[in-house]
Structures are given as structure tokens and as C-alpha cells.
């Protein structure tokens, strides 16, 4: 055996990274004179110990699933889409337009309509950097990150100057009508007799996100287009030789990626806030990069990593509520997890890979 087994790649390495990050976080918490064991307990019980906690954990996770998938799809074509943030903002605009200006008879139709518009808006926002990359060779990392700032300015103009109700001081659109209210997990689970907290913001979008994970898996590994995307990602010249058009693949991949990022808006804008606030995305687009890295760009990995980050967000909030640990430190803990699972991946991977290779040779 000259390669390490799949399970080590998918499970062992993220787990070791996570343990390292936790260990260092514990040292940091000790350093400021707080009890790390108590802190972990608060995080776990706050995020997973009640259906209220789960409601928030899954709400954050839904956001991260969409943005994580968006980054993951682009990764397969070796495109680094850092523009998930801006694409999700535009998606929010799509949801707001759909919910405010179209009278929907039922939430399910509204979800389809608003979701489609959100995906279209997000995809359109990704299309411009994609075209610049495909046709003009402008690097997509630079253009997508610049488009985040443009998106923020566009949203600021539209929300503050155009869509804000007259005289309102809050920087937000009007509330969406009740007919587009998405059922929360409480409302979904109550009819089948499962009690779930009323206050948790997780909603039916979670199911859409899970379905999206499945569809992306089918797309990448079970479809001809997915094969072309992966082939292009592995070797552009090889793909070209096989008759795959780089322009076409770049455009299609980025449209899917932007569409997924835009779809996040059905969760945070339509499901939670029920109006478009300026600060709606809250860097979920950037967290998506960490989620995709940690999930090794595999939909199942993205799913699990999204839940982990949802746990970190909700657990962090609980920590801020229940202890005197300053909120900056909670950001440090989250950053350590991102650092170890995303950026320092090879630090853990190389020795483990070597270990497996040596083990394999010894057996051979």
C-alpha cells in the first residue's frame, strides 16, 4: 500500500486537526485564567444540549452548507471563489425582491420562486468575474474579492436609499408578508409529534441545503458535466486535449457556485430575518471557504464541517452569554479551528501519510 486509506483522509486527519486546535484553545483559555473544561461544557450544552441550541446550530450550519458547497464546486475546477459573500448578498436582494413585490399564495411556492431568484442573482454576480477569468485571464481570486465590496455598496444604496420604508431608521427593507413565512423546525416537527424549540431559527431551508449537498454529489461524481469539471481542475491542458472547453467549464462552474452562495439567502433572509438587513450575510461567505477546505470539497465533508462551524458559532455565543471570556477570544478559538483544519492541513497530513506509507511498506 503506497497510499493512505480513504478513511484516514476523510476522518482521521480532520479529527487530529480538530484535537490540536482544541488543545491550543484550551491553553489560551487557561492563559486568561478561565477553566477550559467548563468552557467546553458550556459550548457543548449550549449548542447541542437543547433543541433551542440545535435550532441555532443548524441555522448557522445551513448558511455554511450553501457557501461551503459554493466554494467546493469551484474548487473541483480549481477555481478559488472568494466571492461567496457578495454572491450571498445579491441572493438576499433576490429573495427580498421576490418576497416584497410578488404576492405568493403559499410559502412553498414562495420558497421555490425566491430560491430561484436568489440563485439567479448570485449566479449573475459570479458570472462577471467568471467571464473575466475565462476570456480575459483576470485572476478570479482578485475579481471575486473585489466584487464583494461592490456588492456591499450596491446593497447599501438599494436598501438605504431605495427599499427602506420612508422615514424608517433601521437599515432594512420592510418586513416580508406573513404568506412567505418559512416553517421553522418547530413547525415542521410538531405535526409528527417531535417537540422542538419554538425560538430556534432553523427552518425548512435546512432540508434544501441537504438536498443541495446530495445534488452536488450527483453532479460532481455521477454526471458527465461533473467529470468535465474535475478533469479541467486536474489538468487544463489535458481537458483541452479531450475536447473540453475551458471557457464553458469556467462559466458553468462559477454560475453553479454563485447560485449556491446566493441560495443561502433563503435561510438567513427569508427564514430568519424575514426582511433584508444590510449586514445579512455576516461573513458566511468566507466561512464557506474554511468549510470547503475542511470538508475536502466533498459534499458529505461540507455537510459535516458546516455543522461543526454551526456548533462553533452557537457554542461561542453561549460562551459569551454565560462567561466572562471576552468575545475576541471566541474569535481566536474559531480562528484556530480554521487554521488547523484549513490552512495547516498539510502539517498533519504529511506525517500521517508517511506513517501509512511506511506501515504499508513494512507489511509488503
Amino acid at each position: 500500500m503506497d497510499k493512505m486509506p480513504k478513511w484516514a483522509d476523510v476522518v482521521l486527519i480532520p479529527l487530529i486537526s480538530l484535537i490540536l486546535a482544541t488543545a491550543i484553545s484550551a491553553l489560551v483559555i487557561l492563559g486568561i485564567g478561565e477553566d477550559p473544561v467548563a468552557a467546553v461544557k458550556i459550548m457543548v450544552s449550549g449548542a447541542l444540549g437543547s433543541t433551542l441550541g440545535w435550532g441555532y446550530t443548524l441555522y448557522y450550519a445551513t448558511n455554511f452548507m450553501f457557501t461551503g458547497l459554493a466554494v467546493a464546486v469551484a474548487f473541483h475546477a480549481r477555481l478559488f471563489n472568494i466571492g461567496g459573500e457578495g454572491q450571498a448578498m445579491l441572493g438576499g436582494l433576490g429573495v427580498a425582491v421576490a418576497c416584497l413585490y410578488i404576492p405568493w399564495p403559499h410559502w412553498s411556492l414562495a420558497l421555490i420562486g425566491a430560491g430561484t431568484l436568489a440563485a439567479l442573482f448570485g449566479a449573475a454576480w459570479a458570472a462577471i468575474p467568471a467571464w473575466l477569468q475565462a476570456r480575459r485571464g483576470s485572476h478570479i481570486v482578485i475579481t471575486t474579492i473585489m466584487f464583494n465590496f461592490i456588492a456591499a455598496s450596491v446593497l447599501n444604496y438599494l436598501v438605504v436609499d431605495i427599499m427602506r420604508p420612508k422615514g424608517a431608521r433601521d437599515t432594512a427593507t420592510a418586513r416580508f408578508p406573513d404568506s412567505v413565512h418559512l416553517p421553522t423546525l418547530h413547525e415542521l416537527l410538531a405535526p409528527i409529534g417531535v417537540p422542538f424549540s419554538k425560538a430556534g431559527p432553523a427552518n425548512v431551508s435546512l432540508l434544501v441545503a441537504v438536498a443541495a449537498c446530495l445534488l452536488i454529489w450527483l453532479l460532481i461524481w455521477r454526471s458527465r458535466l461533473g467529470y468535465e469539471i474535475r478533469a479541467y481542475g486536474h489538468s487544463e491542458t489535458g481537458a483541452l486535449y479531450a475536447g473540453i472547453s475551458p471557457v464553458r467549464i469556467t462559466m458553468i462552474t462559477m454560475l453553479i457556485s454563485g447560485g449556491l452562495a446566493g441560495m443561502m439567502a433563503i435561510n438567513n433572509v427569508m427564514g430568519e430575518a424575514e426582511r433584508l438587513v444590510l449586514n445579512a450575510t455576516e461573513e458566511a461567505g468566507f466561512i464557506g471557504i474554511a468549510v470547503a477546505l475542511m470538508g475536502r470539497s466533498h459534499p458529505l465533508g461540507v455537510f459535516l464541517a458546516a455543522i461543526l462551524f454551526g456548533f462553533l458559532y452557537q457554542g461561542g455565543a453561549e460562551l459569551a452569554l454565560m462567561t466572562q471570556i471576552p468575545s475576541e477570544l471566541i474569535v481566536v478559538i474559531q480562528a484556530l479551528v480554521i487554521l488547523f483544519t484549513g490552512a495547516l492541513d498539510n502539517m498533519v497530513r504529511m506525517p500521517i501519510e508517511k506513517l501509512f506509507v511506511t506501515l504499508g511498506r513494512m507489511r509488503a
Binding site: D35, V37, A38, K41, I42, Y56, Y59, Y60, A152, S153, L155, N156, Y157, V160, R164, K166, G167, A168, R169, D170, T171, A172, R175, A199, P201, N268, E272, A273, R275, V277, L278, N279, A280, E282, Y313, G316, A317, A320, L321, S327, I330, V331
Partner: protein, 332 residues
């Protein structure tokens, strides 16, 4: 373990003392963070003053996400905190849905004046009136006749500051030129001193020699650059005169600290309703202390005090940006 122990013992104590109602106040800071040298920090200062004077304790949280607004409100309400003091206009919407669920809890909200609720104390400040006064001082202190305004995030609240400032400057000199810039369109605009410094330099190159910063933590960079370039600046919310003695003309005071202190002092008997704190209530004003005493000439002081009296008496009417969503003397 210690946590569990202390948790259990607290639970036991509170079970024993059930009915004795030991309500701690809670304070929820807005996304800018507790130590922003202005809005949120003013609230923290008010709370600290209350804690020092009474020996009481208060619970606090710095919000990190929009979804946490409702979460923090509910958690504090369920933990029995009373009153729950919240900062910023973005709390309006979560409060309207949370407050009715906890009729026995008093909520206090700063910068919100338009929501319904019998258990909510809503506090608004007449920022345009205070800004009018510092605009008047700015134009009188200016040699070039050009004064600058640097806002934080481009939101109606900050336009309200800029609009009052421009009216004050025009009152001192009808030909006054006002250069207004906003730092940005995202929440990071509240905490970007480098950009604040760049904007200040750009305004100086256009002739501004007094610059008013209404930009949270970004203002620190504006005040620093103004001091470095030997022009005057104006601070906001808290008294920032001390940051650069002799180089900060004055500060527009928005007494968030007093509002928070008063609410905590009143405790769970705090009076609810809508309270607008303007010049008459000393809710807003301009700062005069040993650091800027030499900068404010007797004529300036006379003029600004006269304007203050006239605004209070209603003789001068300062237009509010909110009335028509635009400013009569300044375009944003």
C-alpha cells in the same frame, strides 16, 4: 467541574431565594463592540459608573451576529435579568417580537423611538441639535471657511449627524463649504481608523481645516491625522477632547452613558415610554473642558450658547434628516 458546582450552587441558592427577586441588569452592546471609544463604550462607562457606586453587578454581551440579537434578549430575559438594556436601532425589530413574551421584564433601547410595547423604555437623542452646535463652532474656528464631516457607515442615523452639522456651519457662515464623506458601506466602517485617516487627508487637501468625525472607532484615525496635520477635529458621542489636547476643537456629546446609568439606577422600576433627549434635557451638547478651553474664544462661546438657547426655545429649528429622508443643506 467548578462550573457545574457553581452552577448547581447558584441553582440551589436561587431556589432558596425564589420570590426574593434579585434582578441584575443586563447590557447588550451592538456589533461595533464594547470598546469602540464612542457609542458602545459610552454605555459601558455608564454601567461601570452604576456598578462602582452601588456595588452591583451587571451582565453583558457583545453581539457578533444578527441572529444573536433575539437570542441574547431571550436568554437574558429567561435568566431573570431586569432591566435589559440594548444598544442601537437594529434592536428595534427583535424587541418588538421578544418584549411581549416577557411582560414582567423591562427593556431599554437606545436610538429607537418608534416601536410599540408597554414594557419598553425607548431613548432617542436629538443628534442633529448637538451636531448643529459643533457645526457652528467648526465654521467659526475655520480659517478657510471649509469644514469636513466624516461619517462611519452610510446609514440614516449618520446622515442625521452630518445634516445638523452642515446646518450649524451654514448658520455661522452662509457661504460655508462642507465636505462630507462616509467611511464605508459595511459594518467594518465603524472600526477603520486607517480609512478615517485617509479621508481626513483627502478633505485637508480640499481645504478643510476643521473635521467632525461621527464614525465610532474610525474617528480615532481622523482625530490623529487632524492633530498630525495641525488642523482641528471634533469628536463624537463621548468627550474625546483629551485624546489630543489643544487640537480637538470640541466633542459632540451624546449622553448614552447617562441614559444607561439612569436606567440601571432605576432598576426594574424604570419608567417606560418614549424619551427624546435633546439640548434641553442635556442629552446632547458640546464638550468644554481644560483641553479645549483655549480653542473656544469668548465670541464662539457666546454664539454657541445663544444658538443653544434658541434651539431650546424653538426660535431656531434644526431640520431632521428623518423628516423627509433628505437634508436641506447637504447632499449625501
Amino acid at each position: 467541574m467548578t462550573f457545574l458546582k457553581s452552577f448547581l450552587s447558584t441553582a440551589a441558592t436561587s431556589a432558596l431565594m425564589a420570590g426574593a427577586a434579585i434582578a441584575e441588569p443586563a447590557l447588550i452592546y451592538d456589533l461595533g463592540g464594547k470598546f469602540d471609544k464612542s457609542f458602545n463604550e459610552a454605555a459601558f462607562n455608564g454601567a461601570e459608573r452604576w456598578a462602582k457606586e452601588t456595588g452591583g453587578q451587571f451582565r453583558e454581551i457583545e453581539l457578533k451576529s444578527e441572529a444573536q440579537r433575539e437570542q441574547a434578549l431571550r436568554r437574558f430575559a429567561e435568566a431573570g435579568a431586569n432591566p435589559i438594556i440594548t444598544m442601537g436601532f437594529a434592536m428595534a425589530d427583535p424587541l418588538t417580537s421578544v418584549a411581549p413574551d416577557y411582560p414582567n421584564t423591562k427593556f431599554v433601547v437606545v436610538d429607537v423611538t418608534w416601536i410599540e410595547g408597554d414594557n419598553i423604555r425607548q431613548i432617542g437623542f436629538a443628534e442633529h441639535e448637538g451636531s448643529y452646535l459643533v457645526g457652528l463652532l467648526a465654521e467659526m474656528a475655520s480659517k478657510s471657511g471649509t469644514v469636513g464631516f466624516i461619517g462611519g457607515m452610510d446609514v440614516p442615523l449618520i446622515r442625521q449627524f452630518g445634516c445638523g452639522y452642515a446646518q450649524g456651519a451654514k448658520a455661522a457662515n452662509p457661504d460655508a463649504k462642507i465636505i462630507a464623506n462616509m467611511t464605508g458601506t459595511t459594518a467594518s466602517a465603524w472600526n477603520d481608523p486607517v480609512k478615517g485617516s485617509e479621508l481626513a487627508k483627502a478633505q485637508i487637501s480640499q481645504g478643510a481645516d476643521v473635521i467632525y468625525a461621527a464614525a465610532g472607532g474610525t474617528g480615532v484615525g481622523v482625530l490623529q491625522t487632524a492633530a498630525d496635520e495641525n488642523i482641528l477635529s471634533i469628536g463624537v458621542d463621548s468627550n474625546q477632547n483629551y485624546l489630543h489636547p489643544g487640537q480637538v476643537l470640541t466633542s459632540m456629546l451624546k449622553r448614552v452613558d447617562v441614559a444607561v446609568y439612569d436606567a440601571m439606577k432605576a432598576g426594574d422600576t424604570v419608567e417606560t415610554g418614549v424619551f427624546i433627549l435633546g439640548l434641553a434635557e442635556d442629552g446632547v451638547g458640546y464638550a468644554l473642558d481644560e483641553y479645549n478651553a483655549d480653542l473656544i474664544t469668548p465670541e464662539m462661546k457666546a454664539a454657541v450658547d445663544e444658538a443653544r438657547a434658541k434651539i431650546i426655545s424653538g426660535e431656531i429649528k434644526v431640520a431632521s434628516y428623518y423628516d423627509n429622508d433628505n437634508c436641506p443643506v447637504l447632499d449625501f
